[in-house]
């Protein structure tokens, strides 16, 4: 039983997060205001931090599980998670940094000068953030259930508490350093056992992976008659490539770059770090099929990463490797969950709790109090849903968050950066239509489905039609309402696109 070692690893990761969180908070207060400190973060450090926050339980456990389960077509997932940063780089990275906006609602308001669009964007950030948090809690339950045999609710509760404490203390966002370390913890925790497993596999005569299903080996082969793998691949790729820029915790980090040029260089480094990480999960998926050709009953494929060392190595060595992986999985969960929770908390605090508290107490309540209420709400709601809903699969849930982000924020950001005629009404209608289409479609297939054939494919992976729909609605409504194009559009575009070193002081407020 690997329980004691794994529990120690998980405990160490949790403690480290809390201690570094508290310490980082104090450090950043002692030196200078952390926003200013944030702007001097080098592209390398910042890239590690983005990688640390981005690689979640879905990447650490879910991708390997899906590749184990369904084979080659699931390799598109990590490719999509990575290409999302390429799209972000060429479409919005430098302009977003230059916009001076700190969050997506900030950008929406600055670009469109509309509190209504800001409000819609805030609701969406919270919704997407919650969708993203649910699988993190479920992943935590899964890890602890597997390595320590504790009941399912323990893991999720531990992560929820740690995240709420870390965010409530206000420490997480300031400390780029902690997130940067998390990336390297995750990479080593996944890479070292993978190398050992690969070496053992090679020494044992490198047997080929076995799967009863031909679609596991052969790309784009339907699993069953009504399956449409090619559509699914394209639709998933649209969701992932465009959704990355709309995730609440991603763009926040861009503000810590010194300038637009730094934002681009950071993204190039992020691509290198993600590539380095994402070559590893398929190794677990494939070796899983070597060791366990078929699925035993009651077996969740998400646990294949944690299961392999015990199967291959066994004994103390196996326990040690399992412990390393469990620690890494927890590092993944905690860093992503705290990053997302932080963004959700910020938005909840800004647009809901603070105005409400001000009204209720006449402006007497202090800032930390409202912020902590917001932090609690940001964590409690997805935690409750994760307890009530059946686990749907880590990567599926994350996929839904990506689909919603791609159908809402991607059109808003891309058109906002590149198109002068974007109007308030166009943006607002596009956001609402995109969000409703993506959510209702996936929701229908979760609640009433799964459906067969084309209906199933279109409803469960909707990005291929919801994104064009949202773009079309935004463009058509914008063209139809030229009078609601905000007056300061050109000024903002000057700010977004003019390179550093050109003196445009009226358009670029000091930040």
């Amino acid at each position: 039983m690997s329980a004691p070692l794994s529990l120690v690893a998980v405990g160490v990761v949790c403690l480290l997060t809390l201690i570094l969180g508290g310490l980082g908070l104090r450090l950043s207060r002692a030196t200078s205001d952390f926003y200013v400190a944030g702007r001097s973060v080098s592209p390398r450090m910042n890239a590690s931090a983005i990688g640390g926050e981005y690689l979640s339980a879905a990447s650490f456990l879910g991708v390997a599980g899906l590749i184990y389960d369904f084979g080659v077509d699931q390799l598109w997932l990590p490719v999509g998670y990575t290409l999302g940063y390429l799209v972000l780089l060429v479409m919005v990275a430098a302009p977003m940094r230059r916009s001076g906006a700190f969050t997506l609602p900030d950008f929406a308001e600055a670009r469109l000068q509309s509190s209504r669009v800001r409000w819609i964007a805030s609701v969406l950030v919270v919704a997407i953030g919650w969708l993203y948090l649910i699988p993190q809690f479920q992943g935590a339950s899964l890890v602890l259930q597997h390595v320590a045999g504790v009941p399912g609710w323990v893991g999720g509760t531990v992560v929820a508490i740690v995240v709420a404490l870390a965010v409530g203390a206000g420490g997480m966002r300031s400390i780029t350093f902690v997130q940067a370390i998390q990336y390297w913890i995750k990479l080593s925790a996944l890479a070292i056992p993978a190398c050992i497993l690969l070496a053992l596999w090679w020494r044992s005569g490198h047997p080929a992976p076995v799967s009863p299903d031909p679609s596991w080996h052969l790309a784009l082969t339907p699993r069953e008659p009504g399956d449409h793998p090619t559509y699914r691949v394209y639709s998933t790729m649209v969701a992932l490539c465009l959704g990355t820029m709309g995730l609440p915790h991603v763009l926040v980090r861009y503000y810590t770059n010194p300038d637009g040029v730094g934002a681009r260089r950071t993204t190039v480094n992020v691509l290198a770090l993600l590539g380095l990480f994402y070559v590893i999960p398929p190794i677990y998926g494939v070796l899983g099929r070597v060791e366990l050709p078929t699925l035993p009953a009651g077996f969740r494929t998400d646990t294949i990463v944690l299961r392999l060392p015990g199967l291959v190595v066994g004994g103390l060595g196996g326990d040690l490797l399992t412990a390393i992986l469990a620690g890494g999985a927890f590092a993944a969960l905690l860093s992503t969950a705290s990053g997302v929770a932080m963004s959700v908390t910020g938005v909840l605090d800004q647009s809901l709790v603070r105005p409400w508290l001000a009204r209720a107490t006449g402006g007497d309540a202090g800032m930390p109090f409202g912020f902590r209420i917001a932090a609690a709400a940001a964590v409690v709601v997805p935690y409750a849903v994760s307890r009530l809903a059946d686990p749907i699969g880590l990567a599926t849930m994350v996929g839904l968050a990506f689909a919603v982000a791609a159908s809402t924020f991607a059109p808003l950001l891309i058109l906002g950066v590149w198109w002068r005629s974007l109007s308030r009404r166009g943006a607002a209608t596009g956001l609402v239509v995109g969000a409703c289409a993506a959510t209702l479609s996936v929701g229908a297939s979760i609640v009433w489905g799964p459906f067969e054939g084309w209906l199933g494919a279109i409803l469960s992976t909707p990005a291929a039609w919801t994104v064009p729909l949202a773009v079309l609605v935004t463009v058509v409504v914008s063209l139809a309402t030229p009078r609601s194009v905000p007056a300061g559009t050109t000024r903002l575009l000057v700010r977004l696109h003019t390179p550093e070193g050109v003196d445009v002081r009226r358009s670029r407020p000091a930040d």
């Binding site: 490719v79 990575t82 390429l86 780089l89 790729m237 681009r264 380095l276 696109h497 003019t498 050109v502």
Partner: protein, 124 residues
Amino acid sequence: MTTTPPRRVRVTSARRGPTRPAATSLARDLDEQTGLGDVYLEGLMRAQFRLAAIVLGLAVASIGGLPVLLIAIPSVRHLTLLGIPFPWLVLGVLVYPVTWLLAGWYTRQAERVESDFRAALDHR
């Protein structure tokens, strides 16, 4: 309170050349949103967008073209390189360094567009 203050030291900058003009006239055009400034902004945005479109086009043609290739020529699915099936090799490994190189190229080009723009503003 009674300690003698440290000797005053004069701090000067070594650089004594003419300071940069407050705002070159074209930069002001850009800032004040005159018609001319608009033309320059439009040109900058178009150049950057064209570059972005090239990168996205390359990505769509290569990665997006892979499923088309696999469907058009089914035998590619069985092709193996170094003992690894072709689609596994491309999606599992090759795509990452290629993406990284493409991103690096884009960044250099985008910075060049920006320095050209700055130069155009300075040398009217």
